[in-house]
């Protein structure tokens, strides 16, 4: 009462400021925009991932530049998508649950939250603080996955970089929106509202995951395999043993200069499945200089590297690791002069000089190829056989863990496992 009767005084700076709803509004709009851009990239990545669930070869969005937007075949983007880091629970779900799906949900939620705050009549730093916390989620995930890309994959997927950049922008804008927001009244922190938003955020992510798991294709004819080995007897001793003892016998068919084989071997190692298999490797160079089944060399120089592997049965993994590491250079060398690849091999492994290029080494490669003939193998690499059953090509990338895990389980159920 007393205050009502008091004479009017000069307005304070706070009273001159715009009402709470307007303060920080443009920054909230910017936050929503950054989140929507992140959601766009995450959606693009999720779409590419889901597209590959049919096991077929598809183009992949590898750039956001107009006219340069899709790539077919091997690329850093494809390597990233096919790597075990692109999804969770790969042994339980064919392909796993894509990380980008969670990203899509989080970005969408942050965008929705920013827009919801924009629509509120009153908002304070209590509200923007939660927005800031929510923005920390994609930012933290981006740091983790960027580190994985740099250290584990050695390649950055450009769409993923779009997500990382969006996350960074989102975080910066959320901080600015928070700083520019109306300071809160001296009231207790709104734990209830925060808990509600947190629950809604969890519900958005969980809801999208449930939708995904409910609708992800389940029935696959390919899980029964795509044929069997006719004979596994290695009369000529050309199958190379991979160190280690797993529970199930397996055979991989590779070409040392085939980029898909390199990616496949990396996936197999990263998946942890390699430890569960007793693996032998059949060298199958797609190089017409030694392989009569190939009319035009796909990987010129692969015969020389194969000879080196078969020349050094105790060191073949070193030769293969080197060939994979130097694959791009060797392929370029081989395209100009396949003999240069042989020279590169003996320069790196001088002890093989007396073997590579000799009739005996050529004969070993021929024997390896004839093992493929005896089994009527498809002229393609890589191939994986578990318990003599061929893993269908469409199951050797995204579905590798799920398919092999299922084969191992069947083996265990059949009592073959000790």
């Amino acid at each position: 009462m007393f205050e009502q009767d008091a004479p009017p005084s000069d307005p304070t700076p706070d009273e001159l400021a715009p009402p709470a709803r307007q303060r920080g509004g443009p920054w909230l709009a910017a936050v929503a925009t950054a989140a929507l851009v992140g959601a766009f990239f995450a959606a693009l990545s999720t779409h590419d991932f889901i597209l590959h669930l049919d096991g077929q070869i598809h183009a992949i969005h590898c750039s956001v530049m107009p006219g340069d937007d899709v790539v077919v075949g091997q690329s850093g983007c494809k390597d990233a998508m096919l790597s075990p880091w692109s999804s969770f629970f790969r042994r339980s779900v064919w392909g796993g649950l894509p990380v980008s799906l969670a990203g899509f949900a989080v970005f969408a939620f942050v965008a929705g939250l920013a827009l919801a705050l924009l629509a509120r009549r009153e908002r304070t730093r209590h509200d923007t603080f939660f927005l800031f916390l929510a923005s920390m989620v994609p930012a933290t995930a981006s740091v983790i996955w960027a580190a994985i890309s740099a250290t584990q994959l050695g390649a950055f997927c450009q769409v993923c970089v779009g997500m990382y950049a969006s996350s960074a922008a989102l975080l910066v804008l959320a901080v600015i929106a928070h700083v520019r927001a109306q300071p809160p009244a001296p009231t207790p922190r709104p734990w209830g509202r925060w808990a509600l938003w947190f629950g809604e955020g969890v519900a958005v992510v969980a809801g999208l995951v449930v939708v995904y798991l409910a609708l992800v294709p389940g029935e696959r004819k390919s899980l029964d395999g795509c044929g069997r080995l006719v004979t596994t007897e290695d009369e000529r001793g050309v199958l190379l043993r991979v160190p280690g003892e797993g529970v199930a016998p397996a055979l991989t068919v590779i070409d040392p200069l085939c980029p898909s084989c390199r990616a496949f071997e990396e996936r197999l190692e990263q998946s942890g499945l390699a430890d569960e298999l007793t693996r032998r490797v059949l060298v199958f160079p797609l190089d017409s200089s030694c392989n009569w089944m190939v009319k035009q060399s796909l990987h010129p120089g692969a015969c020389a590297v194969s000879e080196a592997m078969l020349c050094a049965p105790e060191r073949w993994t070193e030769v293969l690791d080197w060939a994979f590491a130097e694959q791009d250079r060797l392929l370029t060398l081989g395209a100009h002069d396949p003999k240069a690849v042989a020279e590169a091999v003996v320069t790196r492994f001088p002890e093989l000089k007396g073997c590579v290029g000799t009739p005996r080494a050529r004969d070993r490669v021929t024997s390896s190829l004839r093992f493929a003939v005896a089994n009527a193998l498809p002229v393609v690499t890589p191939q994986l056989y578990v318990d003599d059953v061929k893993v269908c090509d469409e199951d050797t990338d995204l579905g590798l863990e799920f398919t092999v895990d299922r084969m191992l389980n069947r083996r265990a159920e059949a009592g073959a496992m000790p």
Binding site: R121, R236, M293, P378
Partner: protein
């Protein structure tokens, strides 16, 4: 109404992505349903079949392989037989069949009345054997020059063919030696080589060559015919 307005963006943040994802998954399911597992239009590993594999050449290879017990489970053991009966071709036609194999053939040369492989001959056998590729049979066609008695030349050409086989067996622990090597010995009386063959890949490349020397030989090659 106010609550709906503030909750609508959050509701949309679930509904819109869920709608999009369910549509994409439906498309993937549809695509998966119509696709058949396994390789599409992928060649299958097979033995080589080159253009020179005429029916006549295949027939000869098959007859020799049969005579050597390579086509059944009996194992090797070429029977002495009249080469002309096995080949059933005019001698010039027989040699003409091998003309397209010029890059494949190695001619192993021997000394007079000898079936011993010299170092150059052994290297040539190694080179020929390692050039196996996807070939089905390794053909050894041994001859003798017309010097000396006919019967002796029969034996000599037999010994020359056998010398190549023995060397392969000793050098390579390869089951293909027993399963794939077909021997044919022609003596002096059938399909003698002309001097034109001196220009082919022979073990004594730097040495003088005439019709006598070129026929003291074994003509060896992998044959890229799917028998």
């Amino acid at each position: 109404m106010k609550i709906l307005l503030t909750q609508l963006p959050l509701l949309l943040s679930l509904v819109v992505p869920a709608f999009m994802v369910s549509g994409w998954l439906g498309d993937a399911e549809q695509s998966l349903r119509v696709s058949e597992p396994g390789p599409k239009h992928v060649a299958v590993a097979a033995m080589a079949e080159e253009g020179y594999c005429t029916p006549e050449l295949k027939q000869i290879v098959r007859r020799v392989a049969g005579a050597c017990g390579l086509l059944d489970a009996q194992g090797r053991g070429c029977q002495p037989a009249d080469a002309a009966k096995i080949v059933q071709l005019d001698p010039s036609d027989f040699n003409a069949l091998f003309l397209p194999l010029e890059d494949r053939v190695h001619i192993i040369q021997f000394d007079n009345r000898s079936s011993e492989l010299d170092p150059a001959a052994r290297s040539a056998v190694d080179a020929a054997w390692s050039d196996r590729g996807g070939a089905s049979f390794f053909f050894v066609v041994a001859r003798a020059s017309p010097d000396g008695a006919r019967a002796l030349n029969q034996k000599l050409s037999n010994a020359r063919a056998t010398a190549v086989l023995d060397y392969l067996e000793a050098r390579y622990a390869d089951p293909d030696v027993r399963k794939r090597v077909g021997l044919l010995w022609l003596g002096e009386e059938f399909a003698q080589l002309t001097a034109d063959f001196c220009d082919w890949n022979r073990s004594r490349a730097g040495e003088e060559c005439d019709t006598t020397q070129i026929n003291r030989s074994a003509f060896i090659a992998w044959i890229d015919c799917n028998i």
